[in-house]
């Protein structure tokens, strides 16, 4: 099954991309979407095979310039193959509708204050429907799917870079429409390549020291690595994979690239690609290097707390729907990192039972996040296509114009807000259970101080997450429309609803029956002997039970209880109210008769108390312009209020780094004077130095 799946992925992407290129324009979106979904199905098949417990290896000698191409699938790879494949199926089906002719998403965004390019108006078809963009999507999906199957350093790096380049192309799809797209592309290219350099250096260092570049060789030789090499490699992979995962403070590309990419690509990037950063960390630190030391665990724990809190704080005050979702991705990656960090700490303390529980929580959360983030990004795309708006302050009232989309987004929102019976709640519950059982008599003081803080962070993140998603759903979809574009919204085409429906169905399944994930998760943990002593999750029908510690919770029982209680309440209220009908009446406006949507709370005003409470961290920029009447300065004609919440962390860290890089570039330009003599001298000195070095160390 694994082999069939991977053949489908590779051949499907190559043949499919060619088919997209030659397909006539009016059929192109159907071909592209179907091909992407088909590649996704291949990933799902291979993933199910891997999670089913079978392993598979294939070697193609001489395929890559530096050596053989080596692929292998185990349960850990299988988990991520399944995750990416499933997201790709939903995004592919959705893409058929999203890139079909029509819609307002290809217009310039009215909320963006970018410079307008002259040819923007000339483009009627969505740039996401262009031949390049459509053919790149299946290639991107295939590259993502093959990354977790890579089993040697060269193979991994080539596929990783292929994934980065194809996604960069897709981020730049709408570059003709908005200047912000080009800026986003630049940031993304910079961050992803800095990350690649870090990962490549770490792999090169490890491979050179163990004397082999296949993952098997690294696994075998990892025990004999010197502590220095191990330390450097662990720090570098944390930086490299962290930047891909959106770990704060390396998250800066996320809130730029995710909003600017076409929405089905945003979903692929945010729900699937970001997870490969998490996969990389698990694979290298816990599998290849055979476990991580305690300081590394504490570092990851601290960075996870920072990512979770900072991500959710920025999301809670964001007004751009897709930017909000991007920051929420940082938050959720933070929760996964808390799981990974705690797993390393517990394993270093010798408590492998707990390490297994928190690691399982991290992997489960990766799945849950993928499911609800797919729904939400696709939902944001539907809103964008139908209204041309991403600005929550201009939305509203979509529940009547787009009832199906709203209902599906509600399912995703419930998951993202981590409330039962949503799926996000389940993995947060497992994570919290793992954390709270770590403090007890005989534990270490470091754990007793750091874990309560982590629990506090998870709790505050959960609380602010609820605020964020009440805002996103309540302001964006409920109440009265705040603009004509929102008032004239129309329901999305069928393929888009089907794509979202698939992802929403997965959300419901994972939220109500998390016990089905118990057996596969136990198999994933089987790949990581360093953090496992017993299966962390017990397989029971409706209740999620943890092995080794006391903890059981059943979302299905809670959901069934809610439904039963609701039915009973309805029946009772019917009897008591004796059939008095409901009346629709004007809302109370303090005596005012006219009702204007401008009187409604907006996303900005909804988040105002939080902005004020976290003023020291967020430091919003506010402009108030008061224009008085010409006759008297005491009579006001108009007041305009603008608020921006810039990313303070970014403003603090990146400008000095960029300035230093520029200064260094300027300085090194002095070396290149254009004289051939000088260049020959450089070559001579360089050769001498290399020979001397070889002589000294040789």
């Amino acid at each position: 099954m694994i082999q069939t799946g991977l053949w489908l992925v590779a051949l499907g992407a190559l043949v499919g991309a060619a088919a997209v290129v030659v397909a006539p324009e009016r059929r192109r979106h159907v071909v592209a979407g179907s091909v992407t979904a088909l590649v996704g199905v291949g990933g799902v098949l291979a993933g199910l095979g891997g999670l089913g417990g079978s392993t598979w290896t294939a070697v193609a000698p001489g395929l890559l310039p530096l050596g053989e191409a080596r692929l292998a699938v185990d349960a850990l790879s299988g988990a991520f193959l399944l995750l990416i494949g499933a997201v790709a199926v939903a995004a592919g089906v959705y893409g058929i509708g999203y890139t079909a002719p029509g819609g307002r998403h290809a217009q310039d965004l009215p909320a963006a204050h970018d410079q307008h390019l002259p040819d923007a108006a000339a483009h009627h078809a969505s740039p996401a429907a262009s031949r390049t963009a459509q053919a790149t999507v299946p290639l991107f999906v295939a590259a993502m799917l093959l990354v977790p199957a890579a089993a040697s350093v060269t193979t991994f790096l080539v596929l990783w870079e292929l994934m980065a380049l194809t996604s960069l192309l897709l981020v730049l799809t709408e570059h003709r429409l908005r200047a912000s797209v080009r800026e986003a592309g630049l940031w993304y290219a910079g961050m992803t390549h800095a990350g690649l350099v870090a990962i490549m250096t770490a792999f090169a260092l490890v491979a050179a020291n163990v004397g082999g570049e296949s993952f098997d060789a690294i696994r075998a030789g990892a025990a004999d690595l010197s502590p220095t090499v191990r330390t450097v490699a662990l720090v570098l992979v944390l930086l490299g994979f962290g930047s891909k995962a959106g770990m704060v403070p390396l998250h800066v590309w996320l809130p730029r690239a995710h909003p600017e990419a076409p929405s089905h690509v945003s979903a692929l990037m945010s729900a699937a690609m970001v997870k490969l950063g998490v996969y990389g960390l698990i694979r290298v630190a816990f599998d290849l290097l055979g476990g991580a030391p305690r300081w590394w665990g504490l570092l990851v724990l601290a960075l996870g707390c920072l990512s979770a809190l900072y991500g959710v704080l920025q999301a809670s005050v964001a007004v751009d729907l897709k930017r909000l979702l991007a920051y929420s991705t940082s938050e959720n990656v933070g929760l996964m990192l808390i799981g990974l960090g705690a797993a390393a700490v517990f394993a270093a303390d010798g408590n492998r039972v707990l390490a297994g529980v928190v690691m399982a929580a991290a992997v489960l959360h990766a799945f849950n996040h993928a499911a609800f983030k797919t729904v939400l990004f696709l939902g944001a795309g539907s809103v964008l296509r139908s209204t041309g708006l991403r600005d929550l302050d201009a939305l509203g009232g979509l529940v009547r114009r787009m009832p199906v989309t709203t209902a599906l987004v509600a399912v995703g929102t419930l998951g993202a807000a981590a409330l039962p019976p949503g799926n996000g709640f389940v993995s947060e519950w497992v994570l919290l259970q793992g954390l709270i059982h770590s403090v007890g008599p005989g534990g270490s003081p470091v754990v007793a101080v750091s874990i309560p803080v982590a629990v506090g962070v998870v709790a505050l993140t959960a609380g602010l997450g609820v605020a964020t998603f009440v805002k996103a759903f309540g302001v964006g979809f409920l109440a009265l429309p705040r603009s004509t574009a929102a008032a004239e919204a129309t329901e999305s085409p069928l393929p888009m609803r089907v794509g979202m429906g698939l992802a929403a169905g997965v959300c419901l399944a994972l939220g109500l029956l998390p016990a089905v994930a118990a057996r596969p998760l136990d198999r994933v943990l089987g790949v990581l002997p360093e953090v496992r002593s017993i299966d962390p999750l017990a397989d029971s029908a409706v209740t999620l039970r943890l092995n080794g510690i006391a903890g059981s919770m059943s979302p299905l029982v809670i959901a069934v209880g809610l439904v039963l209680a609701g039915t009973a309440v309805v029946a009772l209220v019917r009897r008591l109210s004796r059939g008095v009908p409901r009346r629709v009446a004007p809302a109370w406006g303090c005596g005012a008769i006219e009702r204007d949507p401008r009187q409604e709370y907006t996303a900005t005003s909804f988040a105002e108390p939080l902005t004020r409470v976290f003023d020291d961290v967020l430091r919003p920029e506010q402009d108030v312009d008061v224009t008085p009447l010409a006759e008297s300065r005491y009579l006001i004609e108009s007041v305009t209020f603008r608020q921006r919440v810039p990313d303070r962390l970014e403003a603090r860290i990146y400008p000095p780094l960029l300035a230093a890089a520029t200064a260094w570039g300027r300085w090194s330009r002095r070396l290149a004077r254009g004289s051939v003599h000088t260049y020959l001298a450089y070559g001579f000195v360089g050769l001498l130095a290399a020979l001397l070095l070889a002589g000294v160390t040789g």
């Binding site: 529940v399 009547r400 807000a417 981590a418 409330l419 039962p420 519950w429 919290l432 709270i436 403090v439 007890g440 008599p441 003081p445 007793a448 309560p452 506090g456 962070v457 998870v458 709790a459 505050l460 609380g463 609820v466 605020a467 009440v470 805002k471 309540g474 409920l478 109440a479 510690i549 006391a550 903890g551 059981s552 919770m553 059943s554 029982v557 809670i558 209880g561 439904v563 209680a565 609701g566 309440v569 309805v570 209220v573 008591l576 109210s577 008095v580 009908p581 009346r583 629709v584 004007p586 809302a587 109370w588 009702r595 009187q599 409604e600 709370y601 005003s605 108390p609 939080l610 409470v613």
Partner: protein
């Protein structure tokens, strides 16, 4: 668990639901009466909320123009969460019919689900009042969350489980644990959270209307008739649930650990007495309190967070 025991446990859960939902209006009536007497008023009597409720239930419900199904569904969702909580939390007995619903994290999450339903309804009305109430309610909710979870953490350390039944049974087995610094600190933190979550003074004033200071009342301003009745009953029941949870966590005596009818009867009696005493004390405390400015509330919650954090670390270092 045999079939007979399951039936018994289901009956016990239903008893809890009936006690909580039927008792809640009278608890609120008692608290209002205590307040009235202490302020030198005659008061409307303990039964007034129940009489209000009966009147509201027979009246027509209205929806504001432009409100959607979310507005109509919110009171139902809120009331359902109340029923589930009343059934799952060990008020009368620690024996539950199904495992997996009485975990304290799940209980808190279900509580939040009810609040979220109401905040969405507030936004759905499309009025400034609804949005304002929702925004403030959600802010308090977000900031109270860390305190609740850390207090749960502190309580779970001594029994190694966050299941409410286990925590209560553990406290009954070794009552000395209740006087550990960890438990006392957690009790203080929990008390602040109960006040914040139920919208009592000094966080919110349950008896204001149409003032810019209010939170809960602003959110539910558009409800009338049977919808309002459900929202009111649910709010009263949530107060009863949180008070009952508080007393059973920190003063667990009287809770039945079996399904014997005598033990259940004693459990009901103990619950009613304990909750009434605590409710009356809360009402008396409120007489001497003014409402805090909205932006002083985060300071109160941050203080309670500190207590909760101390409770957790105390459970390790002083154990």
């Amino acid at each position: 668990m045999s079939a007979g025991e399951v039936v018994g446990a289901v009956v016990a859960s239903l008893v809890q639901v009936v006690v909580v939902v039927v008792g809640a209006p009278y608890l609120t009536g008692l608290m209002r009466q205590v307040r009235a007497r202490m302020e030198g008023r005659a008061g409307a009597g303990v039964g007034q909320p129940a009489r209000d409720l009966r009147k509201l239930m027979a009246k027509e419900a209205t929806s504001p123009e432009g409100a959607s199904w979310v507005f109509r569904a919110a009171p139902l969702v809120l009331m359902s969460t109340v029923v589930v909580l009343a059934a799952a939390v060990p008020f009368v007995t620690t024996v539950t019919p199904v495992s997996g619903a009485s975990d304290l994290f799940a209980v808190v999450a279900v509580l939040m689900l009810g609040t979220v339903a109401l905040t969405l309804a507030g936004l759905d009305t499309g009025t400034a009042f609804g949005g304002m109430g929702a925004s403030r309610e959600v802010t308090v909710l977000a900031l109270a969350e860390p305190t609740i979870l850390l207090a749960i953490f502190a309580l779970s350390v001594r029994v190694g489980s966050s299941d409410l039944g286990d925590i209560v049974e553990g406290a009954l087995a070794t009552p000395s644990q209740l006087f550990w610094p960890a438990s006392l600190l957690a009790a203080v933190a929990f008390a602040v959270v109960i006040v914040a979550e139920t919208g009592r003074l000094p966080v919110d004033n349950p008896s204001t209307h149409l003032e810019l200071t209010m939170m809960h009342e602003a959110m539910v301003l558009e409800y009338s008739g049977r919808d309002l009745g459900m929202v009111e009953l649910a709010s009263w029941s949530r107060l009863a649930i949180l008070l009952g949870l508080g007393v059973n966590l920190f003063v667990p005596w009287g809770v039945a650990t079996s399904l014997a009818p005598a033990a259940l009867a004693l459990g009901v009696l103990a619950l009613v007495v304990k909750v009434c005493v605590l409710g009356a004390a809360l009402a008396a405390f409120e007489v001497f309190m003014a409402k805090l400015r909205l932006f002083r509330v985060p300071e109160l919650l941050a203080g309670s967070l500190l207590f909760a954090l101390l409770a957790v670390t105390a459970s390790f270092f002083l154990a």
